[in-house]
């Protein structure tokens, strides 16, 4: 089992791991030949993250070799990896190259992040962070399954996550559960309702992306017929806390598509980089709170 890569895009990688870190202590990183997956699926609130990132978006000189279809899956502490990447991303270290590799130190498997930099005086510095990992068995990896969701009722492009976060943090003071609703003509609504107040925050003119590529062409036509009223709002109730966990992803990107499966779940696709040239996508699944 061999793995070695130069992290080209330290900032982006760091931001992704920071987002994951806020969600869950441990996460699974599955490296493949051309893609890496970051998976969080054991959070007690039911929020799951399944991300798919093109290797070329983050790494160069990427080499991977293993007995199971050249895949390697690791279970590691997101905070430890985040700390290593933070030091690599910090400007004052003047990192010239950051290399990540699989190693064994004192019979313990580690993911070693080596930072090669130079001090102000021009001396070469090498800093290495060893993140303890647990190599996962291929059988366990195969058992990991993305949550199954029905065909979403609505897709909508979210406004800037930073702004949404400010609003949701204020709603948190009002209620533990918020409703996220959207319709087919660009209307997005986030609401909180309690005995003392009922609050609806409304955005108009959001984009409803065509998600045709993800379906069969025929199925889409059928869908259009099924949904004669684009004005109809589809909604889902989610834990405010869970939603805020997702909103931490604002550091990764500004393009997010929300998919609402009415009364089932909220799926959020956070694109890494620009949509046109997305290096990957972080997918958040937030289960619905069933009310009444």
């Amino acid at each position: 089992m061999r793995f070695r890569a130069t992290i080209e895009n330290v900032d982006t990688f760091h931001r992704i791991i920071q987002t994951v870190e806020k969600l869950q202590k441990k996460c699974i990183i599955k490296f493949g030949e051309s893609e890496m997956h970051i998976i969080c699926h054991t959070d007690e609130s039911g929020v799951q993250v399944w991300s798919q990132i093109r290797v070329s978006a983050l790494f160069t000189e990427y080499r991977i070799q293993s007995n199971s279809r050249n895949q390697i899956a690791l279970l590691l502490g997101a905070d430890a990896l985040s700390a290593a990447l933070r030091s690599a991303a910090a400007e004052h270290t003047g990192a010239e190259a950051v290399v990540m590799k699989l190693a064994k130190k004192r019979d313990v498997a580690v993911l070693s992040v080596e930072i090669f930099g130079a001090s102000r005086m021009g001396r070469h510095i090498r800093v290495a962070h060893d993140v303890h990992i647990e190599i996962m068995k291929p059988a366990d990896i195969d058992r990991l399954k993305e949550p199954l969701c029905p065909e979403p009722d609505i897709h909508i492009l979210l406004p800037s996550l930073v702004k949404v976060r400010t609003i949701v943090e204020h709603l948190r003071a009002l209620s533990d559960v918020i409703a996220v609703r959207a319709n087919g003509v660009g209307k997005l609504q986030i609401s909180a309702a309690t005995d003392s107040a009922k609050t609806d925050v409304m955005w108009e003119g959001c984009t409803n992306p065509k998600m045709g590529a993800w379906r069969l062409a025929g199925a889409e036509d059928e869908d259009e017929q099924e949904k004669p009223d684009p004005e109809q709002l589809f909604g889902v109730l989610v834990q405010t806390r869970s939603f805020i966990k997702f909103l931490n992803a604002h550091i990764v990107s500004n393009t997010t598509i929300a998919c609402i499966c009415q009364n089932h779940c909220l799926i959020l696709y956070v694109y890494i980089g620009e949509v046109a040239d997305a290096g990957g996508v972080l997918t958040f699944y937030i289960p619905a709170v069933l009310d009444d």
Partner: protein, 359 residues
């Protein structure tokens, strides 16, 4: 369900509609009294008051005048609505039908914390509501020239105004249909941004604690710049238990002496870890007005006085009065972001009962 009701009541004008293009000043006034969740709002034609009480000892009232709003319309509900067969004959609790000559008022109770949270939903109500030193005019002693006092503040405020001028403002529209209806708030940042509609539940107003201050029996009256009081109170340890205000009549010949035997105004604080005494000099730059016919000494619970710190912090001038029963009245003049003059300056008043020294 609400829509159905709306249709029926379309002919009746809402009891209150008001709008603002910048909510920061309004929200800073409300935050000044935000220490208990239930607040009584009393609406009149010239503005409204928001009153909060705690422990039946302290009441705080924010006086918000109509002209801080861009639009303010109060239409008192008709005493006996003719088109309403199913509603109670007397819908508003405050105006007694026996005294029609009185200006009509409408009282309601709202969860104040929730209301402020809704107002600040975009996180834009926090920015400082300007420290315009213009506020002092009303309480300045007659005949005194507009000297340097407050001038620096005024300049700073003007500069601040200049910098915040291009910033996006959050506007709001507030309406109240009448008893049994929520207080509806529409908050929007700009035309392109999101809009928030909040319906804050209203409750029937309960009679509030009344602490009448007898201004004829004032035993101590001090007017000073708020920062002088704020700096003093912020020095105090949080464990402070009891706060005592001591006043002594100024000695006429000794106006400038700082070493008077008896301090003209002293704040004493006693807490778990010791006590603090702070004396104010008899200096017109510090204490603008001192009226104290005879020595006074009254104590208050610090936890009550500390409720006023937020309002104190955003105010320009403070009038501190104590009547002969020891009832403390603290009035904070809240500088409005625009120099408007007139009586439109909103203020926040705290009244607090003294500790009974005999027990």
């Amino acid at each position: 369900m609400l829509e159905a009701v709306d249709d029926e009541e379309e002919r009746i004008p809402p009891v209150l509609t008001s709008s603002l293009h910048d909510i920061r000043y309004f929200s800073s006034l409300l935050r000044g009294v935000n220490f208990a969740n239930r607040a009584t709002v009393t609406i009149t034609a010239s503005g409204f008051t928001v009153q909060v009480e705690e422990a039946r000892t302290i009441i705080a009232t924010a006086y918000i005048f109509a002209d801080i709003f861009d639009e303010y319309t109060y239409s008192p509900p008709a005493p006996d609505p003719p088109s309403h067969s199913q509603s109670q004959p007397t819908s508003s609790p405050t105006p007694p039908p026996s005294s029609p000559s009185d200006a009509p008022t409408t009282a309601l109770e709202i969860p104040l914390g929730t209301f402020i949270e809704c107002l600040n939903i975009f996180g834009t109500a926090n920015a400082g509501a300007g420290g315009a030193g213009k506020g002092g005019k009303r309480w300045r002693r007659p005949g005194e020239e507009d000297d340097g006092d407050g001038g620096a503040d005024g300049r700073a405020a003007r500069i601040q105004q200049f910098f915040t001028g291009g910033e996006k403002r959050t506007g709001m529209r507030m309406s109240y249909m009448g008893e049994g209806h929520p207080l509806t708030l529409l908050v929007a940042e700009d035309a392109a941004g999101p809009t928030a509609k909040c319906e804050v539940t209203t409750y029937e107003a309960e009679p509030m604690l009344d602490l009448p201050f007898d201004s004829d029996q004032t035993v101590l009256k001090i007017i000073l710049k708020s920062s002088w009081l704020r700096d003093a109170l912020s020095e105090l340890d949080q464990s402070t238990d009891k706060l005592t205000f001591v006043g002594n009549p100024p000695v006429p010949g000794q106006a400038r002496a700082r070493t008077t035997a008896k301090p003209i105004f002293r704040i004493e604080a006693i807490g778990t870890y010791g006590s603090t005494e702070m004396d104010y000099p008899n200096d017109r730059d510090v204490l603008e007005t001192v009226e104290c016919p005879h020595p006074v000494n009254f104590s208050y619970r610090y936890s009550h006085i500390s409720k006023a710190l937020k309002a104190l912090g955003s105010s320009a001038k403070t009038s501190l009065r104590i009547d002969e029963d020891g009832l403390l009245s603290l009035q904070f003049l809240m500088p409005s972001p625009k120099p408007r003059g007139g009586t439109s300056q909103a203020f926040v008043e705290f009244r607090c009962l003294p500790l009974d020294e005999t027990i």
